[in-house]
């Protein structure tokens, strides 16, 4: 009898605590600063939706937070439903813009005629981040520690040709490191992934003799273990000695990362080194559609200081919207995203590479042609 009274008391107290916590959640509108920002308010108002690549999620959330603090009347939401789903939703006209890891294909360009007021949809790069080859090896790995590897060694490890950490090929590149005879366990993505696509693109471009598979979103071979999502890969790497995998640099945590051989030097993964690669890469000639800015990432770069394993992610928009208000918003929003300030916000929050220079100028030129009236 006594214990039930006790339980009831606990239940009542905890439900009050939960109610208090929930009401606190609903009350997070920032302090009112209208007086200070009225001059800067660009007149963008309304609710706007975007959807697409989950890789951009962190950056887009940071952009939304800062953008909304300047444009009090704009309410923006981004659904990280995946690149394919995001573009499909955009092509139904339900969202203002889409985020995608893969540039639009010809069929999608054709379909966009139906939802754009005039012309066809275009894509511009908004988010670039380095992909790190990360490993967990007792006595060798640790935060900020690196092993030197060239593309051929990475390709042979991920193709199951090199199976032990003290293989001659790894040793010869790291003469000062005492490598143990631990077996290598490769961890890759089990789901379709833009990261896998970028990583296999790099292997194909930089080590064509040791990597026979085409770049693709599904992991191509049967080597090692598969895990779902970036977090699955990272947690699997953390669970055993001798594992190696690939994921966004921001998730490297306490693992060691591979310094990749570019030209004559080894380059550690870093945001600015990744930005350097992308900014120097040529644009891909796009036969269909206009105003498109699609980077042909030079994975096989040999320029000193470039980090070649990068993922680039795009925003998709129309040159003219049926609803002029949406057009005005998208122009202003993507203009902000591509600005130095916007790129810095993303870089500070997610460790992504801040874009700039000629590439961003081209992207901004396309964005600025969006009709706002």
């Amino acid at each position: 009898m006594h214990s039930t009274t006790c339980k009831r008391l606990i239940a009542v107290v905890s439900s009050f605590a939960m109610m208090a916590a929930l009401s606190a959640c609903g009350d997070n509108t920032p302090a009112d600063t209208t007086g200070a920002t009225t001059g800067k308010n660009s007149g963008i108002s309304g609710e706007f939706h975007g959807a697409g690549a989950s890789s951009q999620q962190g950056a887009v959330e940071a952009w939304i937070a800062t953008y909304q603090s300047k444009n009090r009347n704009a309410k923006i939401a981004y659904n990280p439903s995946g690149s394919g789903a995001g573009v499909s939703t955009f092509l139904t006209g339900a969202t203002a813009w889409a985020g995608t890891d893969a540039p639009l294909n010809d069929q999608q360009i054709e379909q966009s005629k139906a939802i754009c007021k005039s012309g066809t949809a275009f894509d511009v790069p908004v988010y670039v981040s380095p992909i790190a080859v990360m490993f967990n090896l007792k006595g060798v790995s640790g935060q900020g520690k690196h092993l030197n590897m060239d593309a051929a060694v990475i390709a042979r490890i991920f193709d199951g040709k090199i199976t032990e950490w003290n293989d001659e090929a790894i040793k010869s590149e790291n003469p000062k490191v005492n490598l143990p005879a631990t077996p290598i366990t490769v961890v890759h993505r089990s789901d379709k992934s833009g990261t896998t696509n970028n990583f296999t693109s790099y292997l194909k471009a930089a080590a064509p003799n040791d990597w026979s598979y085409e770049p693709q979103e599904n992991w191509p071979n049967e080597v090692g273990q598969a895990a779902k999502g970036t977090d699955g890969v990272v947690s699997s790497i953390g669970q055993a000695d001798g594992t190696i995998g690939y994921a966004d640099l921001a998730k490297a945590g306490n693992f060691g990362t591979a310094s990749v051989k570019v030209g004559a030097d080894y380059v550690a993964p870093a945001a600015d080194a990744a930005a350097k690669t992308v900014n120097a890469s040529p644009l891909r000639p796009m036969p269909k559609g206009s105003k498109r800015v699609v980077v042909n990432v030079d994975y096989a770069t040999s320029v000193a200081g470039d980090y070649p394993i990068v993922s680039s992610s795009y925003a998709v928009a129309c040159p003219a919207y049926k609803d002029a208000k949406t057009g005005a918003f998208v122009r202003d929003w993507l203009g902000y995203v591509l600005s130095d300030g916007g790129q810095k916000v993303a870089s500070d929050n997610t460790g992504s590479a801040a874009l700039g220079g000629a590439l961003t100028q081209k992207a901004l030129k396309s964005v600025n042609t969006i009709q706002a009236k």
Binding site: A85, T185, W219, A227
Partner: protein
């Protein structure tokens, strides 16, 4: 009171309804009991009672019908949503399966085959591990444990049965899997000559063997709590008779409790097998998936289950991809159905023996 009814059922397998003490004397088959039941609760009938009876009757029939409607709706949903993948043009559907499997399958059976294999192997392995431990625990609780220990164990078993599977999955993926590597490694080194345990053991061991262990831990409490109740209902007179004939405690259990509980143990296992077949989260979090017909339980990326595959692929699937996944769900439905049917067959045979 309970003692009389139990002892009266000594000649029969199942304990019969209370209140037929006299009937069992003359009818060893228990056939005389049927006519007596109707007048048990209705002796002092008032006029109002009849309408209550009608309402209750209607409510009970409604509940029964609702089950059938729900089942029918599920089957209809599965068939309708899976239909496009069977009716669609060959080129398109084969592209869907290629994209779902990473180019390893091009037709429905090619795609669902390894999944069925993985589902059945993992669930059966889990049942094989769980069954003997669970029955052991149940025998200990019923026949060996002191009363204080018994109370605590009963409580713990019921608690284990109530833990949500995602908790087991998290614990399995984060704690149990890395901790099991030394054991699996030992197995692969010493028993590697058996193809099932062929090494090298994967590290981290996100394998069929680990997934089966986690599932076994999940389904063990179900089997334990059901078989425990059945063992507890073993006729006292049979036990005493066995002991009086000079049987040891183990022989008494072997001669009385186990035969008595046989069909109950089978149906408990089948219920548990049903849960293991459909388990999603725990498998998804623990297993490194693959699409093969491999029997190498200690190697990673060999198998995947239907339920975990649906959960893993659904977010990225387009409309035709979704209907392909639902079609695999239909196959899982059929497997579960067959398992239940078999269980029913076996239980009935055991009951009329």
């Amino acid at each position: 009171m309970a003692n009389t009814s139990e002892s009266s059922g000594a000649g029969q397998v199942m304990p019969t309804a209370v209140g037929q003490v006299s009937a069992t004397l003359s009818a060893p088959g228990g056939g005389g009991a049927g006519g007596r039941r109707n007048d048990l609760g209705f002796s002092g009938a008032k006029p109002g009672r009849h309408s209550q009876d009608k309402i209750f009757h209607a409510a009970a029939v409604g509940c029964g019908a609702l089950i059938l409607v729900a089942l029918g709706a599920v089957v209809l949903f599965l068939l309708l949503r899976a239909w496009p993948i069977f009716a669609g043009p060959q080129a398109k559907t084969s592209a869907v399966f290629a994209s779902l499997s990473g180019g390893k399958a091009h037709g429905f059976w090619q795609y669902v085959g390894p999944l069925v294999f993985g589902t059945v192997v993992i669930a059966a392995l889990a049942l094989a591990i769980a069954f003997f431990v669970a029955v052991g625990v149940a025998l200990f609780i019923t026949f060996y444990a002191r009363k204080s220990v018994r109370t605590v164990l009963n409580y713990v078993v019921d608690l284990l049965a109530a833990i949500p599977s995602v908790i087991y999955g998290l614990w399995g993926a984060l704690v149990l899997v890395p901790a099991m590597y030394p054991f699996w490694n030992w197995v692969s080194v010493h028993l590697g000559w058996i193809p099932l345990f062929a090494g090298p053991a994967a590290n981290p061991p996100r394998t069929v063997a680990s997934a089966a262990v986690i599932l076994a831990i999940m389904i063990m409490p179900i089997i334990t709590s059901m078989t425990r109740d059945i063992f507890a209902a073993t006729p006292q007179l049979n036990q005493e008779a066995a002991l009086a004939l000079g049987a040891t405690k183990w022989e008494m259990i072997k001669l009385t409790a186990l035969p008595f509980a046989k069909s109950g143990m089978v149906s408990a296992s089948m219920l548990a097998l049903g849960r293991a077949l459909g388990e999603t989260m725990a498998v998804m979090m623990v297993l490194s998936p693959g699409m093969t017909y491999s029997w190498h339980w200690l190697q990673a990326s060999k198998s995947q289950t239907i339920a975990a595959n649906i959960a893993a692929q659904y977010p990225e699937a387009d409309s035709l991809g979704v209907s392909a996944l639902i079609a695999t769900g239909l196959v899982l439905f059929v497997i579960t159905f067959v398992v239940n049917l078999l269980a029913r067959r076996i239980t009935r045979k055991g009951g009329t023996r």
